[in-house]
Amino acid sequence: MATRKSAAQDKAAGKASGSASADELKSYYRDMLLIRRFEEKAGQLYGMGLIGGFCHLYIGQEAVVVGLEAAAEEGDKRVTSYRDHGHMLACGMDPDGVMAELTGREGGYSKGKGGSMHMFSKEKHFYGGHGIVGAQVPIGAGLAFADKYLDNNRVTFTYFGDGAANQGQVYETFNMAALWKLPVIFVIENNQYAMGTAQVRSTSSADLYKRGEAFGIPGELVDGMDVLAVKEAGEKAVAHCRSGKGPYILEVKTYRYRGHSMSDPAKYRTREEVQKMREEKDAIERVRVMLLDGKHASEDDLKAIDKEIKDVVSKSADFAKDSPEPDPSELWTDIYARDSPQGAALETGDA
């Protein structure tokens, strides 16, 4: 936790805490709370059968994306795995469109055709939402490859988990990213469990931030339950990439409160372990305390934010329930760009 002492010092210097102003702190609080409440609602809609298939919640990990988005500039790109709802909300995608994609409706970001794991936004430079563990890592480096080729000074945040960190293509990518000095930040969100396998049972050496050493990629361990620490590390990584020095690795230690997906039996860790993290390390609570102790916000101010978020989330759930299912004709669209109906041409049975 950023200490109260430093908060007080910063206040004297016109700052709330660390390198964040009171307004920035409030905005991180708001953004993290939005993700948490959104995910709780998603879990609820899943239980009601409105969301189907796989649904991987981000609860507990909110500070990672909110901290890194605070270090990003307009035009920077991001790509991640299937645990993607938080990333989308943090980069400014509309909660209505995200929730409606979860329910498989027309108003969803992919018109209901992608689902929880497959969402994209060209406008917000969000390149998915990938369902195959590790596959987004070379894709992220490829986005950075395009940026370098086009010489546009953008960076790409490529997120993956401690589980994906053992995939072979990650190291193929590290090699090429370092060789070609690609402006890509590899963010290893280490929530300490690859599905149900604890990191110590799957990984020969615990320090994932050192995994780039053989390729000459600098790495850093970051407290992912501290949004300001994440932001600070993110800024350093961004500066490194933007200056043309090539890739950077951030291992962000975090914790997922919920199961791997909705159908997780939670037999691989104790309830006490989860409870302890929630009580002692929670990233949202930490910022809440900072805001109150630093007198940057009153209980009433925070209640107002809570209410505002609750309304946004409940509106998104209503939108996601009310949006119609995609028209049956959508089955045959977006298979090929410019929509030449190749799929239909193969449907010879009805001819």
Binding site: E40, G43, Q44, Y46, G47, M48, G49, G53, G108, Y109, S110, G112, K113, H118, M119, F120, Y127, G129, G131, I132, A135, V137, P138, I139, A141, G142, L143, A144, F145, A146, D147, Y149, L150, Q169, Y171, E172, T173, N175, M176, Y257, M262, S263, D264, P265, K267, R271, R278, T333, D334, I335, Y336, A337, S340, Q342, G343, A345, L346, T348, G349, A351
Partner: protein, 477 residues
């Protein structure tokens, strides 16, 4: 208003479960995230958490109840200031509503089922004069690929492929080539000869030997606005990368609701070379043609190699471009035109004939054309069609030909099971059944891994004799 807590669906397939244990009792105050109950599904025992804060008003289902359907109310939560009396009031209304909904959906199901039954009645056989059949008259596009009188020059397939890439790289600065040995080595098969000199190291890029990784990087580059050409030293090695080709490149346009896709070309030699054994000798045409979202090209001549590769590079979709090592050195006439392209989905008739239709593509055309020459000596006139693209397939040209010849033989180097020939047979059966005077025969490679021994390899590969024999079978002469 009191809110009902419903039996949750805790896995993608769960329909009912056992309420194993309540961890709260009536009157308890709970907050979001508190565990309410343990629920047993078919997979595991799961903890069920509260999503809202409130007070447990009433537990509706007792511990140990089995077969509790998803969405059955299992408890009622109260907000501040509400009492248990509010429960009865709102509860009974909703129960009635739920029952209504249940019976309604039940009757709908029945209607759908009875509709299905009538569909199952045997359809009346269609006569040739049916309107539907009229609509299905194939309309092949047989416009020539280049105007009459165009100057021609002789070129190898290798040179044609290089020229196609060079022309497209001059035309669009975002087209670049990456792969193993494409730059300084000048191409493992010399396809990229001279490109590094002309376009420099930024656009002609040697990769490490990491197909999975560099294919994924190229897919990302395509998402990011570039037009990558990925050269696989051979398509055998692309199996390392097939997840990125199929799951990332082919499916993203659909999964993103049309927002972004991967305009790129995957190219390289495919199929058997000579004496290189099982792991380096496989035809992947049927594999890739199976995938919606990909386009698949397998040229035979140098002119098609050039015209189709230029079209592939311009296409806004991922294109699999299957070349052949044995064909690289073969020479053909190539039109001398400023910008010569060949459209996808347009087959080429190499030889007209009225007795049998032989359909092939890529190196298979070598056997098809040789067989046709020999059959002509026996007085059998074969029409030989080169599909050129396997996705999309020009069904119209094939069907129009079969309607004329009433017989068809397909020729491909790939394995027989789930081959392109199998698919063509099914299409012809479906759309031209009444025109067939013989079963469609598929000539393919043998159903064995490619052997090394010279004599066995020869036996495993397709040859013109087998095509001739198949034609004799379907023409009964």
């Amino acid at each position: 208003m009191p809110t009902e807590v419903l039996m949750p669906a805790l896995s993608p397939t769960m329909e009912e479960g056992t309420l194993a244990k309540w961890l709260v009792k009536e009157g308890d105050t709970v907050s979001s995230g508190d565990i309410l109950a343990e629920i047993e599904t078919d997979k595991a025992t799961m903890e069920f958490e509260a999503v809202e804060e409130g007070v447990i008003g009433k537990l509706l289902i007792s511990e140990g109840s089995e077969g509790v359907k998803v969405n059955t109310p299992i408890a009622v939560m109260l907000e501040e200031g509400e009492s248990a009396e509010d429960i009865a009031k709102s509860g009974s209304d909703e129960a009635a509503e739920a029952e209504d909904a249940g019976s309604k959906s039940g009757s709908e199901e029945k209607t759908a089922e009875s509709g299905k039954t009538s569909d199952k009645a045997p359809a009346k056989a269609k006569s040739k004069g049916d309107a539907k059949e009229e609509d299905d008259i194939p309309k092949p596009d047989q416009t020539p690929d280049w105007p009459d009188g165009t100057k021609m020059r002789t070129q190898t397939v290798r040179e044609a492929l290089r020229d196609a890439m060079a022309e497209e790289m001059r035309r669009d600065p975002n087209v670049y080539l990456m792969g193993e040995e494409v730059a300084e080595y000048q191409g493992a098969y010399k396809i990229s000869q001279g490109l590094l000199d002309e376009f420099g190291g930024k656009r002609v890029i040697d990769t490490p030997i990491t197909e999975h990784g560099f294919t994924g990087i190229a897919v990302g580059a395509a998402f990011g606005g570039l037009r990558p050409i990925v050269e696989f030293m051979t398509f055998n090695f692309a199996m390392q990368a097939i997840d990125q080709i199929v799951n990332s490149a082919a499916k993203t346009l659909y999964m993103s609701g049309g927002q972004m896709g991967a305009p790129m070309v995957f190219r390289g030699p495919n199929g058997a070379a000579a004496r290189v054994g099982a792991q380096h000798s496989q035809d992947y045409a049927a594999w890739y043609a199976h995938i919606p979202g990909l386009k698949v090209v397998q040229p035979y001549s140098a002119a098609d190699a050039k015209g189709l590769l230029k079209t592939a590079i311009r296409d806004p979709n991922p294109v699999i471009f299957l070349e052949n090592e044995i064909m690289y050195g073969k020479s053909f006439d190539v039109p001398v035109l400023e910008d010569f392209t060949v459209p996808f989905g347009k087959a080429k008739i190499w030889r007209e004939g009225s007795d049998v239709t032989i359909v092939s593509w890529g190196i298979g055309m070598t056997y098809a054309l040789e067989a046709a020459d020999r059959l002509a000596e026996d007085g059998i006139e074969a029409e030989v069609i080169d599909l050129r693209t396997l996705r999309p397939i020009d069904y119209d040209t094939v069907l129009a030909s079969v309607q004329k010849t009433n017989r068809c033989v397909t020729v491909e180097e790939g394995f027989p099971v789930a081959s392109i020939g199998n698919h063509l047979s099914a299409v012809i059966m479906t759309r031209a059944f009444d025109y067939l005077d013989a079963p469609v025969l598929n000539c393919t490679g043998k159903d064995v891994p490619m052997p090394y021994a010279a004599n066995l390899e020869k036996l495993a590969l397709l040859n013109a004799d087998e095509v001739v024999e198949a034609v004799h079978k379907v023409t009964y002469r």
